[in-house]
């Protein structure tokens, strides 16, 4: 296995595109090193992007936030501006593993690992996050929900590298939240994850986006769930409709972490709870 530390995203892309063997990108490494240990991957080349200048920083601009691909969860958790703007995204990012994992795990890595149960992905989708992708030739920006195409599969072409995740500056009266269900209090993979962001106008939900994790091969956006919220003040009827829409959107599997029935049911339960948190964060009164 060769190990490389390129000085730019473009250089990284070049290395990956030229490699004939199995090449892997290393950011936080919390997924890659597990796969290495278990013998699931045998890389010929590992490209460590952490030496790329500024890739471990969060940039704030008038348009929003640019989170470098090597920014760890603990750095995200300590960023006051980001926390105030997108608390749901920050919470989701911080739910990934222990403090030790937080010292390494990144949003871009969580996305590229393309696990159906990734915590940060539904939250990023609900918040309208985008991935800045650098290839050997060109750069493109893709909405997060378009990145993952199936378990372990992304839209990244050979040689393409996610350089950063961008989050828009939230509109006024916006709130987001992410809740997941795990059997313990920490250290588990989500059995169900629900992210909701919504915008209020005079106390009524004007816009909403709902995304679910761990209930389908990829995170799913649920327009019907968003429609259930829009126009409501989060009354019980709206919440019941939301729950029903979320449960209906589930297409999970039975596995060691949860059953189809349980995941479907709990998706609705968490949706209601997450909606309430997002609603209050947007300034709504329950």
């Amino acid at each position: 296995m060769r190990y490389a530390t390129p000085a730019s995203a473009k250089e990284a892309a070049g290395m990956l595109s030229k490699e004939k063997g199995a090449a892997f990108l290393l950011a936080g490494g919390t997924d890659l090193l597990v796969k290495l240990k278990m013998g699931m991957v045998e890389p010929d080349l590992v490209v460590d992007i952490k030496r790329i200048p500024k890739i471990d920083q969060i940039q704030t601009s008038a348009k929003g936030f640019t989170i470098g691909a090597a920014v760890s969860g603990s750095v995200i958790g300590q960023h006051k501006g980001l926390k105030a703007a997108w608390p749901g995204v920050v919470e989701a990012a911080n739910l990934i593993g222990s403090d030790q994992i937080q010292g390494r795990a990144t949003l871009a890595g969580n996305l590229c690992n393309a696990s159906p149960a990734a915590d940060s992905v539904p939250a990023m989708i609900a918040a309208g996050a985008k991935a800045v992708i650098v290839g050997p030739q060109k750069k493109r920006t893709v909405p997060v929900e378009k990145v993952v195409q199936g378990p372990g599969k992304t839209c990244l072409a050979k040689g393409e590298v996610i350089e950063a995740i961008t989050l828009p500056k939230p509109e006024a009266k916006t709130g987001d939240a992410y809740l997941r269900f795990i059997p313990r209090t920490e250290m588990d993979i989500a059995v169900v994850g629900v992210a909701i962001s919504l915008k209020l106008e005079r106390g009524v939900v004007k816009k909403a986006k709902v995304a679910l994790g761990a209930v389908a091969p990829t995170a799913v956006v649920v327009p019907a769930a968003a429609r259930a919220l829009v126009g409501s003040k989060l009354d019980d009827a709206a919440l019941e409709k939301l729950a029903a829409a979320c449960s209906a959107a589930c297409n999970p599997i039975d596995d060691k972490r949860g059953t189809v029935e349980y995941r479907t049911r709990v998706a609705g339960v968490l949706a209601k709870r997450a909606a309430k948190i997002a609603f209050q964060r947007a300034g709504g009164a329950l």
Binding site: L26, G29, T30, K37, P43, R104, M187
Partner: protein, 164 residues
């Protein structure tokens, strides 16, 4: 040793060089090449925290870091906690409170607890419990560990007040 790479790094304040295969974890490199066996392997997959160290001040499972990534970084292990032959307050409190039974998880707990107290000198019980959730202990039920950290935090706050 195929594809061995020479790594120059700082471990517990000392300059250290070691050669390791590129796919070797920092945990294995620290244990087998630097001789710091206080870094324990409980799982190798980041789930137990026994191999916890800090890299440039950031808390990590050293099993989820490549040895070659340590190039130019500063690594601190449990062996670096005591200074000039004196135990760190946390180390002493772990002994005083019987916060260890078998002791295999202790190095990881100490590094994690120290990182917590450096960041938050006055954590409440819940904060302590969540900060240590990445460290598994099978012997103690965590009770005496949490008490030891609370007591150490108290002493450390007193000491830092005195210094000021």
């Amino acid at each position: 040793m195929s594809n061995a790479t020479l790594v120059s790094t700082t471990v517990n304040g000392d300059p250290v060089q070691f050669a390791c295969p590129t796919d070797e974890s920092l945990m294995t490199a620290l244990r087998n090449r630097v001789g710091l066996t206080g870094v324990k392997e409980g799982c190798g997959t980041g789930d137990c925290g026994a191999c916890t160290v800090t890299v440039d001040g950031s808390l990590v499972c050293s099993c989820l870091v490549l040895g070659v990534e340590a190039e130019g970084r500063e690594v601190t292990t449990v062996e670096g906690l005591s200074q000039d032959g004196e135990l760190h307050v946390l180390q002493q409190k772990f002994i005083d409170h019987a916060a260890l039974q078998c002791g295999i998880c202790t190095p990881g707990f100490l590094v994690a607890a120290k990182t917590l107290l450096d960041r938050n000198p006055n954590p409440n019980e819940t904060e302590i419990r969540y900060a240590l959730a990445g460290n598994l202990c099978r012997c103690t039920g965590y009770d005496k560990i949490v008490r030891a950290v609370q007591d150490a935090a108290k002493d450390m706050r007193k000491a830092s007040k005195k210094r000021r």
